[in-house]
């Protein structure tokens, strides 16, 4: 059996197993919009942990981190920097988001803004930011998947057909089972990825250098500046590091799906406990970086750093092992992409389309539109992936520049009564525009600072200033909750009508 056939068969098997886990989850629970999005709020600690941990381990962890270690060097450390810090942010914010979600039956991130600020245009803007920022993120997963199949097939299958097949599967299982299905597929993915990371991260430096310490000694000798910042780049220095770490640690839980995952917990306390423990899960990240550094010396000269881990694995191990690693990588791309698409589609249907275009839509129609949007968004991201060649990390940073703009609205909304809908709206609009302009004019980093972070700072300033001069209609979350929350103002909140499909 040829090597590529072996590798690809194993990958296909793993992908099929993961997908079936997703399909079968559907049959245990009657599906309604509430079930589909937040799985009835019943997830205990283990499942919430898996859902959240599952999502952060993406193609970015697998290929992007090693890719940047290979091509950029020291700047890759921003990844190790933001991982623990983002959980600190979640410790303080998510339990309060959960509480609001419980009391007001919230399902999406935009629902939160609607409940707090009582302004349909603001929640529609928030939903738009979420959906737009999702595109580079899904594009990243698709690109990664294309790389995996291309390397595993020893060049026989090209990226484009690979991406198309995998995303057909993803769209399929999102369609059918929603959050619960994805959580189970996520379990498989995490186990595989953990195994893959531990094994490769330790074995590869050992095989080529006799250990991690010796690998580093070799790198320091061959390329002494590579391991510091700015490493192999000219402009990713300390200023970039600080601003990027801040951007990503504040922005991580602003991704709509990470934000909304808070609603699925059984209590706010579980979220705090997860926040304490989760940095320990990031221990696999350094291993991926070690592999990228080993690759720097063993397979130099690759034009695309993101290929480095797989190329090195292919060179070192037999085809069946490449298949397992490739399978882990494939699930690692599909599962988070599925979650993203699910979130984006629901946001679009419920918080953009219904409130702005068709307020009379029933929950059933919203759910149907969400399903259609799953296809639309997947195809959109697929087209972007096929059409462009940005590195995986840069795609991710682009997405962050967008979603991080939601941070001021969330944190000020939770802790201040003075902040107003007009303030938050202006802040988001300004921050997002500035970040987008700087990025697309190739001015990132600007004066050494991350463009998204600059946008975020301006966002805070504008939000504060505009809030001071405008009047707020809503008195924060402490207003009397004995009055029914589903008043005529709250068009985007769901009442408890169950919709079956």
């Amino acid at each position: 059996m040829s090597s590529s056939l072996v590798a690809l068969s194993i990958i296909s098997f793993i992908v099929a197993a993961g997908s079936l886990a997703g399909f079968f989850a559907r049959f245990r629970h009657k599906m309604d919009l509430e079930q589909w999005t937040v799985a009835g709020r019943g997830f205990g600690m283990v499942l919430v942990w898996l859902l959240m941990a599952g999502e952060i381990y993406t193609t970015f962890t697998f290929l992007g981190a090693s890719g940047w270690a290979y091509s950029r060097g020291g700047p890759v450390l921003y990844i190790l920097g933001y991982q623990p810090l983002m959980y600190i942010v979640s410790f303080f914010i998510l339990p309060l988001v959960w509480e609001a979600g419980q009391k007001r039956k919230l399902q999406t991130q935009a629902d939160f803004f609607q409940a707090r600020y009582q302004n349909t245009y603001l929640s529609a803007l928030v939903a738009s930011v979420g959906v737009i920022s999702m595109l580079p993120y899904v594009q990243l997963q698709l690109t990664g998947l294309g790389i995996i199949v291309e390397v595993a097939s020893y060049g026989a299958i090209h990226r484009t057909p690979a991406m198309i097949i995998a995303f057909a599967i993803v769209a399929g299982f999102v369609f059918v089972s929603g959050v619960r299905g994805v959580a189970w597929a996520s379990v498989m993915k995490d186990l595989l990825l953990l195994f893959a990371a531990l094994f490769i991260g330790i074995a590869i430096p050992y095989i080529y250098f006799g250990g991690i310490g010796r690998m580093f000694a070799a790198v320091v000798q061959a390329k002494p500046q590579h391991l510091l910042m700015p490493g192999a780049t000219k402009n990713l220095g300390h200023g970039w590091y600080v601003t990027s770490v801040l951007l990503t640690s504040l922005g991580f839980f602003m991704w709509p799906q990470n934000f909304a995952a808070a609603y699925t917990a059984r209590s706010g306390n579980i979220l705090r406990r997860n926040a304490v423990l989760m940095p320990l899960y990031s221990i696999t990240m350094p291993l991926m970086i070690f592999v990228g550094l080993t690759a720097l010396l063993v397979v130099p000269g690759l034009s695309n750093g993101d290929l480095s881990l797989l190329t090195l694995v292919r060179k070192t191990f037999p085809a069946w092992f490449l298949g397992i690693i490739g399978g882990a990588g494939a699930l690692t791309a599909m599962v988070p992409a599925a979650i993203q698409i699910l979130t984006g589609a629901t946001l679009f249907a419920k918080n953009l389309w219904r409130p702005l275009v068709a307020p009379g839509m029933s929950d059933r129609q919203v759910a149907t539109l969400a399903k259609i949007m799953v296809l639309v968004l997947t195809i959109g991201a697929l087209c972007l992936a096929i059409g462009s060649t940005i590195s995986l990390v840069n795609l991710l940073l682009l997405g962050y520049a967008g979603v991080a703009q939601l941070f001021p609205g969330v944190v000020l909304g939770l802790f201040s009564k003075r902040v107003t809908a007009a303030g938050v709206f202006s802040g988001i609009a300004c921050g997002f525009t500035i970040a987008a302009v700087l990025t697309f004019k190739h001015l990132d980093p600007w004066r050494g600072m991350n463009a998204g972070f600059i946008g975020l700072c301006i966002n805070f300033a504008v939000t504060g200033l505009v809030s001071l001069v405008t009047v707020s209609r809503a008195a924060g979350f402490d207003e009397d909750l004995s009055a029914p929350a589903e008043g005529p103002k709250c068009a985007a909140n769901l009442t408890c009508t169950a919709v079956h499909f």
Binding site: I88, F92, A217, Y241
Partner: protein
């Protein structure tokens, strides 16, 4: 909404200072610790130290909220 205790916030700030703001102090190769260049060692160590800080914050928050039994949550 209930504000977190000032102690928890301080404990939460410590990792930010160590990991983010002081980068110029620790972004160096020497001394090499456990075979790792110092910057790598430092950040990996903080993957383990951050949970310790946050455990402290967790205990503090629990102490503060227990007398009121607000959370109704589970132990």
């Amino acid at each position: 909404m209930k504000r977190p205790h000032i102690g928890s916030i301080l404990l939460g700030v410590i990792p930010f200072v160590a990991i983010c703001f002081t980068v110029s102090l620790w972004d160096r190769i020497y001394p090499i610790v456990f075979g790792l260049p110092f910057n790598f060692f430092w950040l990996i160590a903080w993957l383990l130290l951050t949970p310790l800080c946050m455990l402290g914050a967790y205990r503090l928050e629990e102490c503060v909220s227990n007398p009121h039994r607000e959370e109704g949550g589970e132990r």
